[in-house]
Amino acid sequence: MKEFYVIAIVVMIFVVIFQIAKASEYVSVLKGEEKSRKQNNRINGFLLILFLIFGLYGAWYCNELYYSKTLFPQGSASVEGEKIDLMLYITIGVTGLVFVITQVLLFWFAFKYQEKDNRKAFYFPHNTKLELLWTTVPAIFLTVLVVFGLKNWFVMTGDAPKDAVVVEITGHQFAWDMRYPGKDGKLGKKSYKLYNQPLGNTLAVDFEDPESWDDLHTTEMHLPVNRPVKLVINAMDVIHDVGLSHFRMKMDAVPGIPTTMWFTPQYTTEQMKKRTNNPNFVYEISCDQMCGKGHFSMRGVIVVESEADYNKWLATQKPEYFTLYPNKDPEKQVPVTDTTAVGTAPIAQLMPKNP
């Protein structure tokens, strides 16, 4: 019944507005069309200038309300992101100025030059000097922005520093998985054909590659503060995107085409809790590329901590090789000297045959 009333009320409102509109049309015919046209003109001219004033006030008010909720008051959580923030402020400055000038001119001209009986429009078809002026001035401003932007772009997309911590992140519907290279500092090989869910090899790691034996598989990302980190980004099924808005970073995860990005976290999670006055603060990884029905829930967590805490955490993680093949775990078994010979035989049985 409630729906019925709502619909009835909406229909009533429509009918009322419509009747008023019809009536005003008859009134204007009675009054004389020319006269009512001029009256409409005055009303709309006034509304346009009102719209300008309230619009500019609204833009300011909106900023008051929401600027504090954006990520900029808390600053960039990565060193590289600070350049992005600076670029953003400069761009806001330039475009903001153009915005105010052009909108004011637009509505002011419309109001000022509204139809008057004694006014004659000014025949002004072109003026080369003016046109050159507003071709070159925007061109100069844009050149500056482009140069500034590209400088940052090449730094951010350039090679990561050699001492960067390497973490592999893999997206699949609808979660993130991390892989750390372990003590050898190298990630073992992968091939999507080695994917084996019953075994638990969901990252399709090639465990015949000895470099994979000390690799860690985690679902949370831990990073040391003030050290560059390089992410190697993969996807299993569809395109995902590693979105790290606090670090001002983002990169697609494309199946079959690994991508990378690097940045330097400069605040630990604990420091950010204080900076944002939010005890629940957490660095989140959002999926920023439409990936299916669970897209909105594809959330990952990053913990940035001191180097010492980070190493402590690493030490508690068990290599995936040993979780999947407990009989290879040196802690549970007598250590075997010839690792390669023992490693291969049982795993080969578990692996899908090469096509």
Partner: protein, 598 residues
């Protein structure tokens, strides 16, 4: 059909009043009509129906965004298992988002906008009896109609319509296992789009041919109204870029149904290892955006052209810098083909390639700036009449400025890294290409309605429509920039589990309420539109806006063939307003001996 027979038909009509020749049955006059004016109205009415559907979808998914915890029992009555327990299911939410985008970008703002106004205005404003090929023109509409039917039918299949976003990136769109919308719904989407491309090509080729070949005597290219220039460049863009979408769609159909691997490689989906190797998901994005970016200008240019014309007519002043306006349209057309990869800055694109696209993208801001300043100068020292069309044209300029400026943020790749795929992007493109183009379209409808139907739209309703829409559009999209600056991602069904994004709940609710109001006012417009066709105030003068262009030299209700007698000869450009102390001098008035040159 030769000019002579058309002339005959028109002549008969003039003498016979409302009577028509015996072979003009209802079917040939209103259904399979070859009259460009009827075809234009068919495009417009179909576009309006699509706009209501597409707009309604956005209202439904805004309900979810505005209040993620609420349930609406009537929604379950309407949508069945897609809204189990009165709550929109994520899959269907994504289907609605996808269809909203597809419908509004292609079916409303491409077919509904250029289809309507290119068909209606080109012959009337260049002085032609009809399109170069009325037959192909009719087919263009009917292919659009077929595309509409197929797209509509995809809404009713059991697994739901396409739900991978209007950009249909594979592998998501290629694999039924990845998303239920990527089952039969996606095939229907692709088939519909293939039909749509055929429609667009038939239309576009016709528009180009007509403009180049059928201009009346004296109508040199530089005497064409800016509407015609913009529709010309729009058609060029469509003809050169839509085939690339067609090829992408066909390759995707192959990947889906024939086991090819154009876009697929190294995929494990739903626990299954797929045999596809060697394809590239990124290749599809290149193909898609090679159309996708020109598409933005296909949507925007007609709105620019119509606004230019309407601003000039109602300022009673020539458009400022006619040649610069044409030049900037041309520059935008060329550049539109060279910027597509700015949608792909975070795909792992080669950084050097990225930098080239940054440069070319920001270059577009220069012709855009020229246009804005020229519009402002057109208003300056005018004698402005605020007809509803004029208000929408002014609104268009305001929105084009607001949305265009944020393009400078997104086009700069380093900044785009942070803003990509956030609400900032939603705000940007909805303002600059969505709402602005709608304003151009509304301006066109209000301005040319008297020529289309011989009646006026109700003015009061028009003014209500304008004011609520412009205020509402800014209230909806302006705050979204802030959500984007907070990193809030697009296409999220629910933000409440995110520490970083959950504090915009109140704003989302506010936006949803405004969206509902704005949608209601569009319904008011639609009522006004259809009511006025039959009951609107009748047009009693040939030239109600006192405009210079040729369409106002035709009878109030022109028959097929447009001019009962000879086609008028053109003697001047279309912007002789306020010249030599005369309010306006139509294009068919010969140049006087003592007249000053412009």
């Amino acid at each position: 059909m030769s000019t002579a027979t058309l002339h005959e038909t028109a002549h008969h009509e003039e003498h016979g009043g409302e009577h028509h020749e015996h072979h003009d049955t209802f079917i040939t006059k209103y259904v399979f009509s070859q009259d460009h004016k009827t075809i234009a109205k068919q495009f417009l009415v179909t576009g309006i129906i699509w706009a209501i559907i597409g707009g309604f979808f956005s209202v439904i998914f805004r309900l979810q965004l505005g209040n993620p915890t609420a349930t609406y029992p009537w929604l379950e009555d309407l949508l069945g298992h897609w809204a189990k327990g009165g709550k929109l299911q994520p899959e269907f939410y994504y289907a609605l988002v996808t269809m909203h985008g597809t419908i509004l970008v292609f079916f409303v703002l491409t077919a509904g906008l250029s289809g309507t106004f290119a068909n209606f205005l080109i012959p009337l404003q260049i002085g032609a009896r009809d399109m170069a090929s009325p037959m192909l023109n009719m087919l263009s509409y009917w292919f659009f109609f077929l595309a509409s039917i197929v797209m509509m039918s995809s809404l009713f299949v059991q697994t739901g319509p396409a739900s991978g976003g209007w950009t249909i990136y594979p592998p998501l769109s290629a694999l039924g296992d990845a998303s239920s919308g990527s089952k039969i719904g996606m095939d229907l989407w692709l088939v519909s789009m293939a039909l749509f491309v055929v429609s667009s090509l038939l239309g576009g080729l016709n528009y180009i041919t007509t403009i180049l070949n059928l201009r009346t005597k004296g109508m040199s290219m530089t005497r064409m109204p800016l509407t015609i220039w913009s529709l010309f460049f729009t058609a060029v863009l469509g003809v050169l870029s839509f085939p690339v979408l067609l090829s992408g769609a066909i390759l995707l159909l192959f990947d889906r149904n024939l086991g090819t691997s154009f876009f697929l490689s190294d995929i494990v989906v739903a626990g299954k290892i797929l045999p596809n190797e060697g394809g590239s998901a990124i290749l599809f994005q290149h193909l898609f955006w090679f159309l996708g970016h020109p598409e933005v200008y296909i949507i925007l240019l007609p709105a620019m052209g119509m606004s230019s014309e309407i601003l000039s007519v109602n300022s009673r002043k020539p458009i400022f810098g006619y040649m610069a306006m044409v030049g900037s349209l041309f520059a935008i057309t060329i550049l539109a083909f060279l910027v597509w990869a700015h949608h792909m800055f975070v795909t792992g694109l080669n950084p050097f390639l990225g930098s080239v696209f940054v440069l070319l993208t920001l270059l577009i801001a220069v012709p855009s700036a020229i246009k804005v300043f020229n519009w402002l100068t057109t208003l300056w020292k005018g004698n402005i009449r605020f007809t509803p069309g004029m208000l929408f044209a002014i609104g268009f300029v305001s929105l084009f400025i607001s949305g265009g400026l944020t393009g400078i943020f997104l086009g700069n790749s380093a900044l785009d890294i942070h803003l990509h795929d956030t609400y900032f992007v939603i705000a940007h493109f909805h303002i600059v290409m969505g709402v602005a183009s709608f304003f151009g379209m509304f301006a066109g409808v209000y301005h040319w309605y008297p020529k289309m139907f011989g009646r006026y739209l109700n003015n009061t309703l028009a003014y209500i429509h304008f004011w609520v829409t412009i205020v509402g559009a800014y209230l909806i999209f302006w705050p979204m920039h802030y959500e984007g600056l907070a990193g809030m991602p697009r296409r999220y069904y629910d933000f409440s589990n995110w520490e970083s994004f959950k504090n915009f709940g109140g704003l989302n609710e506010f936006i949803s309420i405004i969206a509902l109001i704005v949608f209601a006012v569009q319904i008011l417009f639609v009522i006004n539109f259809f009511y006025s066709i039959w009951k609107g105030r009748k047009v009693t003068t040939l030239n109600p806006w006192e405009a210079n262009t040729l369409e106002w030299t035709t009878p109030i209700r022109p028959g097929h063939g447009n001019w009962p007698g000879d086609i008028p000869e053109v003697h001047r450009w279309p912007y002789d307003y306020a010249k030599d102390g005369k309010d306006f001098i139509p294009q068919d008035v010969p140049v006087g001996a003592d007249e000053s040159k412009h």
